[in-house]
Amino acid sequence: MPDTSHDAVLARRGEILRRAAGVDYPAVERAGRSFDYESLLGSTGYAVDDVARIQADANVGRTPLLELKRLTRLARELAPAGKGARILIKDEAANPSGSFKARRAALAVHEAQRLGYEGVIAATSGNYGAAVASQAAMRGLRCIVLQEVFDSAGRGQPEIVEKGRACEAYGAEVWQLTVGPELFYVLLRLLEETEYFSASLYTPHAVAGIETLGHEIGEEVRARYGRDPDAVIVTHAGGGNVSGTARGLRSAGCAGTKIVGVSVDLQGLRMSSDADFNRKSFTTGHTGFGVPFLVNPDRVDVPRNAARALRYLDRYVTVTQGEVFYVTEALAQLEGLERGPAGNTSLAAALVIAQELPQEAIVVVQETEYTGAGKHPTAQLTFARELGIEVRRSHPRENVPGQVIAIPNAPEELSVTELELDEIRRSYLRRAAAAAPEAIGPDDLVFLSAEVNRPPDVVERWLAELAEPAAASVSV
């Protein structure tokens, strides 16, 4: 029997993941710090039409694109004269498991079946678990889902408890774990023990599955309104949603569409802290994932992350928890749509960004998710109050993650906070340079330029600045 201690299992990670991934990662590695990103994404062998066909076969995709007429009217009343873009939302809750994650899971589970695996495993506290479980149920494969759910007192985050319940409803074995990064250790142990397929969120399949979402938005907006979307607003956590949506929009020819990432501001809360864990009213789509995944996309359960949002983001903003709850209520009461937190994070930003754009412009919120017990604002706010977090009507500037949830007094108070992408790009480069300190060759420069979506001469200048002693002392 192999050594099952934490360190011993992690030392076998390469071997375990190779057997479980069905992706030839060494084939895309290049000299230096580079790898061939397009070859990795192309390694699925599926064009966007193939993906759409596989998804349609699994009852996934082709979701309604809804025009939010009353929220558009509200944006126009708040905006200067002539401003107030039309706001659309892609009702991804219509997918089998109630979120866009069904698109990612459809391709991953299809691949697991094609390669002859008996079952699939996913480590996620998000909707992706239910999506994998649902797709596995549809194909008769076994499924295990691992979730970070409880603090050490056994208190479960209501939204994640709900996601665990959903996984069991689809016939999955669910491991509910306490707080800590050892989720990855348990994943490795179970992959080793079961020899199931690793349905990681970060494989090329899991990203290619989202390309149909961007593609559908591009084609449908153009057909209905005779123009490309001006901005597509994407809730950002691990990077797959941004990467896949942006790639799909490009494949539909929407070269000028701005990609705006949005995360809930949870800065100041430590993500691996037992005490802080339940002081978050949002379990994903927040800065605790959004920022680190931009700076270091490869800190995941595969050798190379196919989700690389820094390549695609034109803008990255944050909103507060209270603003998202406010907009969730607005969506229900003004549009008759009761939906979950992930899409409403983007919707809070969309209501603000629409006011910056002319009325003929089109802003698309690219997802909704289902809601219900645990996910609903009343569940989250009740839980927050039980933990001593103050919930009150006040200006969003009084929001303090983990201490005060400020529900805005009026829609005029909603705003977005810009996170400087150039700062994040420089942090990415600082880390990349430190991780592989050998001289940066021309191939590396091309790679890094694509990674941060800036011209090679800019990257070169930034790297030179980072090498200066004053800059070198700045911590990541």
Partner: protein, 109 residues
């Protein structure tokens, strides 16, 4: 009318939850915040009890994936425990305000 089920002893085939200590504090990952590092890493898994067992016993369940998982039996017929919570007045007010606002200021389309 049936009596309340006996909650202390589970029958074979009954739905139950076992708890496993996956890693003791000394075996956890390096670099954890102190509050997390001080606690064991614990898992809860549910399935069908293989044999009759009482809460607190070591017991095995057969999971929905058909696998055997052994741990300490902690709950029989475990409820998820989450709900919609209590009504939140601050949010109910938001709905009323926004509807009034669009009703009053509505320009006819």
């Amino acid at each position: 009318m049936s009596e309340a089920p006996d909650r202390s002893t589970g029958r074979p085939g009954g739905w139950a939850e076992v708890l496993l200590v996956v890693l003791e504090p000394s075996g956890r990952a390096p670099g954890l915040p102190p509050d997390t590092a001080a606690t064991p890493y614990v898992a809860r898994v549910r399935g069908f009890l293989e044999e009759a067992a009482a809460v607190g016993d070591t017991a095995a369940v057969r999971t929905p994936a058909g696998r055997r998982v052994e741990g300490t039996l902690v709950r029989l017929d475990p409820e998820p425990g989450h709900s919609f919570g209590r009504p939140v007045g601050e949010l109910l007010d938001v709905g009323v305000e926004l509807r009034e606002r669009l009703a009053v200021e509505a320009p006819r389309a």
